[in-house]
Symmetry: C2
Subunit: 324 residues, 2 copies
């Protein structure tokens, strides 16, 4: 918690509302709740993922989004929210978290947008939305991938979330890049023909390998991840290259959950008969997501089912702000 | 060929020597030959790989290397070599090649280091070293990966060489990154324990996952590729994770050669009984390289054996300069 929540002279009274921000890699969402937890407003904005060296972009996206969501909630201009919790993609280490929290806290206070400011990881606020302060497991399969658990003992565990270079196995980015690589292998004769060539050609506007490589290098991760539904569609239409990619991605996502389930059972002193609920978040695995139907049987084999409730990270962040 | 080879007033007579440059990602090599093809001098220098936006670094590395190799060859200062051919990593497309050729040509002429300047891809000059103007196949397994063929009909073919993001399957960079990813999966519980953890910890000075990810992000590709011998050593000592990585890398390298051999046979009008010779270049597959013994049986299964001669790309570049 930052030090801005002490009443100071010339500081206007705060509004009796809290803000939750979910800052992701392709867009951001914000929610305003009243003291009773009722939703007063909701807005979407641009990406607020924290990228080392480009933290200012994240701060600006949040500032703009917070201004708009306060307006949508009917909070008079100049009255800061009582508290704000931001769950931000790209915030992994405690040192980074503290640094970003100080930046955001200073920015929100100086602009009169929010008093107390906390920064969390985006997966943490999603976990909180579904399970509150209780135990639970969350799998994120979006542009990136990560899984998080709060065990019955209260201990927290995490798998994945190591980013595009060293991790993100099973993510949309990884699946889309795998499709582009398969197309390059097909074009230079190393791989079999695949209908993915047409999809990738359309998505990047070229089927000239060197140009495709250039465009991949400069493409946003979200643009590459946007190939995922086409990979799954190609797989369903019988393309074996696409089916292999989609299967491996679903397996990699399930691999994120397996150690958390093992730890859960160990935490309870051994295997239990009860089914575990796993919250699924992100474009690949949310309801209607391209990999969901490949993932569910793998989860079931581990004794896990998806939660009926879809995680809403912005609401989870706002709920974390309520008791502040 | 650039336009600087016409005699101009106030231009000193050129020395009757040619220079070959092999500009790679971790270092560069240069050779000076006399008109009869005898080697007069040889030097090594810093990386001269062409990286978009950092072409100046490549030009500076070549300038420094050329100065030193001319001195080593006993060429008096101020007398430019008759011709220079540079085979540079990172030069893939014709537009890039022409641009770099103009830059290098201008630089060499203005400094009085070389008259006629040609730029080629580093794999092309290696192919020329072993096979001259005749047909042949070259596989590069170094920090990156690529294979090149000049078919009996004279047609040129290429597989791979698409760079770290979209290609480089089976390369040292890819193998080293695979090892680091396996360590991260092991540390967060997704993968089995592996002795690679100790190797990666030593190489990057940390076993804290988030720090390891940071160091991978800022590491030079060569530093990641330098893990390759340790992966092979771990595999030989019985580590199954390492053995899987090394096997998949060797298979990916062999995959580069397979379509070239198929095209070779098709070029001759069908399968022939004769064994094909493939030149092997790069730290992974050169004599004593960590993946060589996994690669050779795979090549043999395709009817291919390594050339007795090791490719010397700098010499190949210099030989290309002789007839200019």
């Amino acid at each position: 918690m930052s030090g801005v929540d002490e009443p100071r002279a010339a500081t206007p009274d705060s509004a009796p509302v809290v803000i939750g921000v979910d800052g992701g890699g392709t867009g951001s969402r914000a929610v305003v709740l009243d003291a009773g937890g009722r939703e007063l407003g909701r807005e979407v904005g641009s990406a607020a993922i924290v990228i080392p060296g480009s933290e200012t972009a994240s701060m600006e996206a949040i500032r703009d989004l917070v201004r708009r969501v306060l307006r949508a909630a009917g909070v008079p201009e100049g009255r800061p929210a009582r508290a704000l919790v931001a769950g931000l993609a790209g915030v992994g280490r405690e040192a980074d978290r503290l640094r970003i929290e100080t930046m955001l806290s200073t920015s929100m206070a100086s602009l009169g947008l929010a008093r107390s400011v906390l920064v969390r990881n985006d997966a943490e606020v999603a976990l909180h939305d579904v399970f509150g302060t209780g135990p639970g497991i969350l799998l994120v399969g979006g542009t990136g991938s990560i899984a998080l658990a709060r065990l019955p003992s209260g201990r927290s565990l995490r798998t994945g979330g190591w980013g595009a270079l060293a991790g993100d196995e099973g993510s949309g980015w990884s699946l889309g890049l795998g499709a582009a690589r398969a197309v390059l292998r097909s074009l230079d004769g190393r791989g079999p023909p695949t209908t993915l060539t047409d999809h990738v050609t359309r998505a990047f506007g070229t089927r000239e390998p060197a140009e495709l490589v250039d465009r991949l290098r400069t493409a946003a991760k979200g643009q590459v991840a946007a190939l995922a539904p086409q990979v799954e569609a190609a797989a369903r239409a019988g393309d074996e290259v696409a089916a292999g990619l989609a299967d491996r991605a679903a397996a990699a996502l399930a691999d994120h959950v397996a150690p958390l389930i093992r730890a859960w059972h160990a935490d309870l002193g051994g295997e239990t008969a009860s089914q575990l609920e796993v919250a699924l978040l992100g474009g690949l695995v949310a309801r209607g997501g391209p990999l969901r139907s490949r993932l569910l049987p793998r989860l079931e084999a581990m004794g896990a089912v998806p939660t009926p409730q879809c995680p809403d990270p912005a609401r989870g962040a706002a709920r974390l702000a309520l008791p502040i």
